[in-house]
């Protein structure tokens, strides 16, 4: 038994799904978690969470932005602040938001907390676009 739970404050996306593999954007980089992984606790960056259902060969993909992941002997828990499935992402909107955020970052008068916000926005939209790009290529 190796189960995946993916939860956000606003909805429960995945509940007790039996999986063979989970890939998460860990604090130190991409983490590929297979059953039998050592217990681990990490924060997640902005990026793509992928998982492969038991016996399946293709991956299901979610985009997450800030999160936290806990690996224990019988599963993985991913708590994400925001999670979107690929179907929910609007490429045109992501690109527009990315351009807007990048333009805002050039402003030298930006306050530091706004700067962080904009940087996160850039990251998030970049990740959205990347996720979509990967999806069409394979």
């Amino acid at each position: 038994m190796f189960n995946l739970n993916l939860v956000t404050p606003e909805k429960k996306l995945v509940t007790d799904l039996e999986v063979d593999e989970v890939i998460v954007p860990g604090f130190k980089g991409q983490l590929d978690i297979l059953p039998g992984h050592a217990p681990l606790m990490t924060t997640l960056g902005t990026g793509v969470v992928k998982y492969r259902l038991k016996g399946a060969t293709s991956y299901e993909t979610f985009l997450v932005s800030w999160g936290y992941c806990e690996v224990h002997p019988d599963g993985v828990i991913v708590l994400a602040e925001v999670a979107e499935s690929l179907a929910e992402i609007d490429r045109a909107r992501a690109e527009a938001n990315l351009r807007k955020a990048q333009a805002a970052l050039v402003d030298p008068l930006l306050e530091s907390d706004q700067m962080v916000m904009m940087q996160r926005k850039v990251e998030r939209n970049q990740a959205r676009i990347n996720a979509l790009g990967n999806d069409t290529s394979h």
Binding site: T8, L40, E81
Partner: protein
């Protein structure tokens, strides 16, 4: 007869009112369902975070500013959570009365006692009694979302971290069921981890079988993780309180409107009765007049 027409007008006006209250009840019922879903959806997230914090805190002996318990807080910020709109029975007045009493009982105890109001009703009530809040946040009921709660939480956290306050409390209506709300005062900051142990039976840590293993790998260090988690936990607490308050508001409004509809029905019934009695009486009088006139002519 003028009197008859008066009653007829009143009946139709009460009927209109009844239609409105019935519609409001329906709307509240629908919104209540959505708000209840919100609460249910955030529960797993909140429980996980809390249990992890409790686990880390118990094994790692962490010192964290947000966890440090203050024996006798001197500077206190109280967040009062009400709704923007009225017509919700005792929903807002219960909160306001409670908060006012709390204010009067404690204002001599603390050096500094500030209020932050979420919702128009609370801020109006206190402004009328010349208690000024540090700020007012409105338009909550329209959309309770996690980002909104996070904004509020971030602000509270900043002020706490700056040392402006030793403790942050929250007064809100806890959602018990669709018909019952309980005014509750909770400590938001510093975070009280001991509560995690007392959480409900569905809680992973409740029966002691935590999945926490001593050789857990942390990325980054436990200190950084817990810092992050505490912030999220705090934000989710604020979000939960908001979601509960909104659900409670709709519940209260639903009950109030249900009562109003029933009362209107009762009024319509009794007025219709009076109306019919009057109508019959006037018919009888007319008949008597006619027959006695006829008798008089015969005689």
């Amino acid at each position: 007869m003028a009197n008859l027409r008066d009653i007829r007008n009143r009946i139709s006006s009460v009927k209109n009112t009844q239609q409105i209250t019935r519609a409001m009840k329906m709307v509240s019922a629908a919104k209540l369902r959505r708000a209840q879903n919100n609460i249910q959806n955030l529960r797993p997230f909140a429980n996980h975070i809390l249990s992890v914090i409790a686990d880390i805190a118990s094994t790692e002996r962490l010192e964290h500013k947000l966890l440090a318990t203050v024996e006798a807080p001197k500077k206190v910020l109280t967040v009062v959570l009400t709704s923007d709109r009225g017509l919700a029975g005792g929903f807002n007045s219960n909160i306001n009365r409670f908060a006012m009493k709390y204010y009067q009982d404690n204002k001599s105890k603390y050096e500094k006692m500030d209020f932050l109001f979420i919702g128009r009703k609370g801020s109006d009530f206190f402004r009328a009694r010349s208690v000024k809040g540090v700020d007012t946040i409105l338009n909550l009921a329209r959309e309770v979302s996690f980002p909104l709660a996070q904004g509020v939480a971030g602000r509270l956290m900043d002020e706490f971290n700056k040392g402006d306050y030793d403790a942050v409390y929250l007064i809100y209506n806890e959602f018990k069921s669709a018909i019952s709300q309980v005014v509750t005062k909770e400590q938001l900051l510093p975070v009280d981890v001991s509560k995690a142990r007392m959480a409900g039976p569905d809680h992973p840590t409740a029966n002691g079988n935590t999945r926490f293993s001593p050789d857990m790998i942390f990325e980054p260090s436990p200190e950084e993780i817990i810092d992050d988690l505490l912030k999220k936990h705090f934000a989710i607490q604020v979000y939960r309180a908001m979601a509960e308050s909104v659900a409670a508001e709709h519940g209260a409004r639903m009950a109030a409107m249900e009562n109003a509809t029933k009362n209107a029905g009762e009024m319509i019934r009794s007025m219709t009765l009076t109306y019919n009695k009057l109508r019959q009486a006037s018919i009888t009088t007319e008949l008597i007049e006619i027959t006695s006139g006829a008798e008089a002519l015969k005689g």
